[in-house]
Structure formats: structure tokens, C-alpha cells
Symmetry: C2
Subunit: 304 residues, 2 copies
């Protein structure tokens, strides 16, 4: 099975406390590494967990609050200093490029590797990355400033052959790829060999939804419909729902409701307020509604 999992690099909101770090996650899809948000200290966290920054090919920034991107300029600069040469694709709000360029200018830095910037759109959802096996979509969230979530969808794979059967029946090799696509094989003598009998169905494609800072609203529910793993911010406990609404954030109870409504399989909570030293109550609250909840614990890998 293709590797599809996410490493938590930071789970803190706003101000880092108790050794927790601001938001960042590393997604490994089939050994291609994607970074999602990049709070201050992300490059040190990557080092701590043994991840080489040069392996990251794409970075997605949800919005321009500092706890989601202040570590980006440091990571990009370090990649330059250690001699990175391979392309790096960066997705984020248009102003992000302006902020980076200004800092590169004043440090007299001319990157030695191609940094390809792609603006995200705060108004509508769209596919922003696609290859043969994966597509990534950004979609608007509702926060104090423009903010997008991201959805990572594995593409549907072909069926796999039942090797022993195929060999036993002497199906000619050129026809095997048709079988995998579900096309039956008709032999010269007219015998029909059904594709469904000679193949195992592919595993269902998996998907990861990432909802960084947002106040809960129906507008983005369709975007994360049926994801296998849903990361949703849960800054506060529900007794602070008023504060959550004021600051355009979500409570852990609301995050659980969202997971339930969209039919997610598992829920990952994060972006915890500095108010909570002990995070267990946030987990407990969510599990009252959505039992398959986990806390996004730093340094831990979660399977999608």
C-alpha cells in the first residue's frame, strides 16, 4: 500500500507554549513530501524528526497569520545555504511572495534553487496540484484574514492481477493491462475470461482534509466530504464558544460535529490555545460526539 501519512511538527495556536510549536505538518505520500503551513521553528522540528528539508517538494501556506508561516523564510533560506538545487513549489496568498522577496532582497540572497510561487485563491476552491497519483485542492475557509484549507486526494488506482490465476490460464501478456482496467479477455476459441475474476479490486482511494484557522460554517463542508482523515483546528473548549466566534476559531466540540456531518473516518485536533496546558479535555470533549478523534501530538505520524 502506498504510504500516505502525516507527521505533526507543530500543534500550537498563536503563541508557542509548553514546548509546543506553531502549526506545521509534513505529509508523506509515496515518499513525496509536502509541507503544510510552516510556523516559526519548523526547520528545527524537521531536523529533530530526521527529515531532510531538501526532500520537500511542495509547501502549502493556509494564511498569513504568523503562527502559520513565520518559519517559512528561515526554511527557504536554509535550503539555499545547504545548497539545494531541486525545484520547490510554494502555494499561498499572493502577498506571501512580496514578503519573502523583500527579505531576500535585504539579505542580498539570490536563491540557488528554483522557487516556484503559486497564488492561492480566497474566493473559490480549485485544484492547485496534480500528478498521476495525487491531487491537491485549496478551498476558502472563514477566518479574520483570507485563509484556505487543503484537500489531498489519492487517485483511483488500477486493479491488481491475481498473478497465479493469470499464469495458470496463460493469458497473453499484452492483454494484462486491459484486465487491470476491467476489460474482459476473449480468447481465440471464444472463451470469455472475466476481468473481475482475474483481478483484485484496488483499495479505495484515500484523502486528507486540512482545515486550519476557521470559524465553523457550512460553506466548506462539501470540500471535505468523506475524507479519511480530517485535521480540524480546535483552538478552544466549547465553554469558550463566544471567544472562538470572536476570534474566528473553532471549539473541539464543533470540530467533532464537522467530522460527523462530513462523514470523516478519523479526526485530528490541533491549533491548541496557550490557555490549555493539559490537552486531554479537548480530546474528551470531541470524543463525546466523534469517538475516532486524536490529538495532533508533535512528532507523531498519523495514517490517512
Amino acid at each position: 500500500m502506498t504510504r500516505f501519512e502525516v507527521l505533526i511538527l507543530g500543534n500550537s495556536s498563536a503563541t508557542p507554549m509548553y514546548g509546543r510549536h506553531p502549526t506545521s505538518q509534513l505529509l508523506n505520500f509515496n515518499e513525496q513530501l509536502f509541507l503544510i503551513d510552516c510556523g516559526e521553528g519548523t526547520q528545527m522540528q524537521l531536523f529533530r524528526y530526521g527529515i531532510k528539508g531538501s526532500r520537500i517538494s511542495h509547501i502549502f501556506i493556509s494564511h498569513l497569520h504568523g503562527d502559520h508561516y513565520f518559519g517559512l523564510i528561515g526554511l527557504l533560506s536554509s535550503q539555499h545555504l545547504v545548497g539545494r538545487q531541486n525545484e520547490l513549489h510554494l502555494y499561498g496568498p499572493p502577498a506571501l511572495k512580496e514578503i519573502l522577496d523583500l527579505q531576500f532582497k535585504h539579505s542580498d540572497t539570490r536563491l540557488r534553487y528554483p522557487l516556484v510561487f503559486h497564488s492561492t485563491n480566497e474566493d473559490h476552491s480549485e485544484v492547485i496540484f496534480e500528478n498521476a497519483h495525487l491531487s491537491v485542492r485549496s478551498f476558502p475557509l472563514r477566518h479574520r484574514i483570507a485563509c484556505t484549507g487543503f484537500r489531498f486526494d489519492e487517485k483511483k488506482r488500477s486493479a491488481s492481477l491475481k498473478k497465479e490465476e493469470v499464469e495458470r490460464l496463460n493469458i497473453p501478456i499484452p492483454y494484462l493491462r486491459f484486465l487491470k482496467k476491467g476489460i474482459d479477455y476473449v480468447a481465440n476459441d471464444g472463451t470469455v475470461y472475466l476481468a473481475k475474476n482475474l483481478t483484485n479490486p484496488p483499495p479505495p482511494p484515500r484523502s486528507y482534509g486540512y482545515c486550519s484557522d476557521t470559524v465553523v460554517n457550512e460553506d466548506y463542508f462539501e470540500e471535505i466530504r468523506g475524507v479519511d482523515l480530517l485535521y480540524h483546528e480546535a483552538t478552544f473548549l466549547h465553554d469558550r464558544i463566544e471567544r472562538a466566534k470572536e476570534t474566528f476559531h473553532t471549539t473541539s466540540l464543533e470540530a467533532a460535529q464537522v467530522a460527523q456531518i462530513v462523514g470523516a473516518r478519523k479526526l485530528l485536533l490541533g491549533h491548541f490555545s496557550a490557555r490549555y496546558k493539559d490537552l486531554q479535555p479537548l480530546l474528551d470533549e470531541s470524543r463525546t460526539i466523534f469517538p475516532h478523534t486524536e490529538l495532533s501530538e508533535e512528532g507523531k505520524w498519523f495514517l490517512v
Copy 2:
């Protein structure tokens, strides 16, 4: 004795490695806190060592290479978020303000505390801060981009009275402050009481010199003449002197020579290249010339 000491928050050059952090130091002078440079992760380091950011009144940034200031925007933002109200004075190259303002603008942040920006000058040395007990001077260093060092000078204090003597002789209280300034007391009967016999001389004023990134050159030697504690970058061992010159940095042997030439009392090495996991050779090399050398170990306080 007035407290005058420096806490090392980061001692790494360029890319953070081996758990070391980019450059930052906290100077405590009589419980007033000054931050010198602010690499990425400085706010986490302050938290680790139990320092409240709100106690910092002045921040000095030497230059706009990221390993000396990428942590500043995060620290300033966090101070805003935790409700700081007291003034914060920031000293650095003019473009620093532009960089900060652009990021505040795009995160829609209006600081709740007064941030007073003071441009440093890359062309000449000047006093940039002064109060009754301390003065701070910036001076040009020679690096790839504009860079300044800083010198912190304790002001000369008054002599202290020999209390028992003064009481025994019944010197009238209004004259005591003159004695402290070295003015003798002449009693009504013509007897002269010499100030030097009734006072203890003040301790000699102390000074701290901070030389962040620079290639060694005589131009700044006068600026750090006779400091008690000299922090000098020592990015490389001397076998990499060519690399040091190319990158406008210093070797530990050169740092020791500087300390010797300017008559520093103690030397603190820092800004270590990621090339060195073990720092002992840098210390050993410096001590061959200047025995009173220490490594700027993170988390350690050094007396000025």
C-alpha cells in the same frame, strides 16, 4: 554590585543544527533586559529559560541576515497577543521596519503596545541608547551586508561612603553627597576631612562588546577597546581562513587575536558553523592565544 550579565539564547550560524539555535543573547543590566539579535526560535528559547518577553525593553538587531532576525516578527507578534502594553524600543537597519510593517499589514495586526523604531547607521559609530547607568553604542562591522556591533558601557558610579567613619566624625548629612563625588569636607574649625579617606572608590565600570558577523579588520578595534567581556563571532577554525574571508567571517584564532589586541578581559566565542558538531576544537584554538576564552553555550549566563 549591579547585575550585568548575558544569557546565550543561540550560538549557531546560518542553519540551525544539533539542537543549536541561531544567534540571540539576552543582556541583564540591573534587571533591565536587552535582547541582542533575534534568530528564529528566540521566543521559544526565552520561554525555555524562564524569561518573560514583556520584561525586554530594548532589542538590538545587528544586520538583516536571517539567522540574526527571523525570530523578531514572531516575538513582536506574540508580545502583542499576550497583551503587552509597555514600550519596546527596536534598533536595527532601516529596512527592518519595512519588513516588519509589511508582515503586520498582511496579518492585519495593529500592535497594542508602542514599538519605537530607531535606525542604526552602517557608516559611523554613535551612542544609540543612554540612561543614568548605561550607554549603548553601535559601530560598523564589515560583512557581506551592512552590519553593526554594539557596545554596552556601564557608567562610572560614585564612590561609596565609609559609613562608620563618617558617623564617628559626625560629618553633616548635606555634605555626604559631595564626599561621594570626591570633594573634601572642611569643618567650621578649619579641619579638612579628605574625601579619599572617607569613601571607598567605585568599582571600575564594566563593558560588554558584541561583534556579530564580520571579517576581522582594524576599523572596529577602537570600538571594543578594553571591554571586560568581548563576544566575537568565530564561525570557523583557522584551517578555513580562506572560507572565512570569502564569507566575511572570522576564525576562532582571529577572534582570540582581536581579544588580545583590544585588551579584552574575557572572550566569548559564538556563531558556530554547522560544520562543527563538537565545538571544543574552536575553544582550544582560541585559548592557544587567549586563555580566558569561553564558548557561548546556550542557556548559560556569563558575567560581564
